[in-house]
């Protein structure tokens, strides 16, 4: 196999890895870098559990090749908290019991954070459509939407 060396940045840290070009960014994050917070629920971009940002753009890491990470800045769920301080979205997800099994939670967090960076006052409909690619089978989404609304409110108050 013609493996390739890749240099990239993950959650602010410089990272180098070697991978088969068929490996996805998700494979690489999990199996080569040891960041298993991003989950594979489908492998076809339909569930959003593997959501990450690449140069600030929200994507499914299962639909990005590992080799495409060269020179990019990748952010994953592991990079959301700052040290021991949880991000307000993480706090609200816990407070609102917006997770049951928690497998979709990393993807929801990455996607919702990306939304709130663009819009700190999304409507319920905007939240629901933004998160339409993040499947949750446990909660029926109610508490997730409320948690995102609560986080947005806190962010607005914080200015």
């Amino acid at each position: 196999m013609s493996n390739q060396a890749v240099s990239t940045t993950v959650n602010g840290d410089p990272v180098q890895f070697v991978c088969d070009p068929r490996e996805t960014l998700l494979d690489v994050l999990r199996d080569r870098i040891g960041l298993t917070g991003s989950k594979e629920g489908c492998g076809t971009g339909d569930c959003g559990a593997c959501s990450v940002t690449v140069d600030g753009r929200l994507v499914c890491s299962c639909l990005v090749l590992g080799v495409e990470a060269e020179g990019k800045k990748i952010e994953t769920v592991e990079g959301i908290a700052e040290g021991p301080n949880l991000h307000v979205l993480q706090e609200k997800i816990i407070e609102h019991a917006a997770l049951q099994c928690g497998i979709c939670t990393p993807g929801i967090l990455v996607a919702a954070k990306n939304l709130l960076e663009k819009n700190t006052n999304p409507t319920e409909t905007e939240i629901r459509y933004w998160l339409a690619g993040n499947l949750c089978r446990c909660t029926g989404y109610d508490k997730i939407v409320r948690a995102v609304q609560a986080a947005a409110e806190d962010l607005r108050k914080a200015g």
């Binding site: 996805t24 753009r57 495409e68």
Partner: protein
């Protein structure tokens, strides 16, 4: 699989020409990677287009026409400050593809080259009268978008050919486009029926129109009879009924997991009326 990241279209063409087995061009990857994951197509050669200069550009030319780079994502089209004002139908069609995450990657050219009869952006793109530039070993050629798809999963491009640009004609006055699709959920589905309408008014009267239907035939198709049904009218109920009739007559759908023949034909008419109305209302308020 060999992965290449050329820095020019010429280099990309050379790579494709020299490659053995299956070659795929990678822009957004939202089809290529899915096919790879599902073991439908594992390319021997993968040519990543994103390092080529200009592929992420959206340019409004002096004459009012647009050039859209082959690696411009749906999200970049939606976020563009003026593209969606002139071509709301094209932008909304692209925006309907997949999730927010997919929007971060998916491209117009990818959607076109995937050759799906149910592609959302392609009817809207055809309705605009867009032309693509194709580069191959024998040089470049221009091709109407309508001439690209030839059947499910098939295009008129040769193995060594690659699309280098999408050119959209000037919007002009009193005109607008619209796209809508039918899906069983609100998001994340493939179109069961898709319809794009692009039209121009003179006063209240439609003077130019293009009606394009998706997911109702082996390829996305322009329906000239549907356009005829509304040209010269003010899109009154009688015109809309004729439009629906013409659209339904042009349908040659299949029964599959996403819908029945009967359903597709019926909904094609319903959708055409709704989309034409949206385009008409937009054109009335356009400058």
């Amino acid at each position: 699989m060999k992965y290449h990241k050329p820095t020019s279209f010429k280099e990309a063409v050379a790579l494709a020409e020299g490659a053995e087995g299956v070659t795929r061009f990678l822009a957004g990857g939202t089809d290529v990677l899915v096919q790879l994951r599902l073991d439908i197509v594992t390319p021997d050669t993968l040519v990543d287009m994103k390092a080529i200069a200009g592929v992420k550009d959206i340019t409004r030319n002096e004459d009012g026409s647009w050039d859209i780079g082959v690696a411009v994502s749906g999200a970049e089209m939606t976020e563009h400050p003026t593209l969606g004002k002139e071509w709301p139908g094209l932008v909304e069609a692209m925006d309907l593809i997949g999730s927010t995450q997919v929007q971060g990657r998916a491209t117009l050219v990818g959607n076109l080259c995937n050759g799906s009869p149910a592609a959302d952006s392609v009817p809207a793109l055809m309705a605009t009268g867009a032309v693509v530039t194709v580069e191959g070993k024998n040089g470049t050629r221009q091709l109407a978008v309508a001439d690209v798809p030839t059947g499910p999963g098939k295009t008129s491009l040769a193995a060594h050919e690659v699309i280098t640009n999408i050119h959209i004609p000037p919007r002009g006055q009193n005109a607008a486009d619209a796209y809508e699709r039918f899906i069983p959920r609100t998001e994340m589905d493939i179109a069961v029926v898709g319809c794009a309408v692009n039209l121009r008014l003179d006063g209240d009267k439609i003077v130019e129109a293009t009606v394009v239907m998706g997911a109702v035939a082996p390829t996305i198709r322009i329906v000239p009879d549907a356009a005829k049904a509304i040209i010269g009218t003010t899109l009154d109920d009688a015109a809309k009924d004729k439009l629906a009739e013409a659209v339904r007559a042009a349908c040659q759908p299949i029964d599959d997991k996403r819908g029945t023949i009967e359903f597709r034909v019926h909904v094609a008419g319903v959708l055409a009326k709704r989309v034409a109305q949206t385009a008409y209302d937009r054109a009335r308020t356009a400058h």
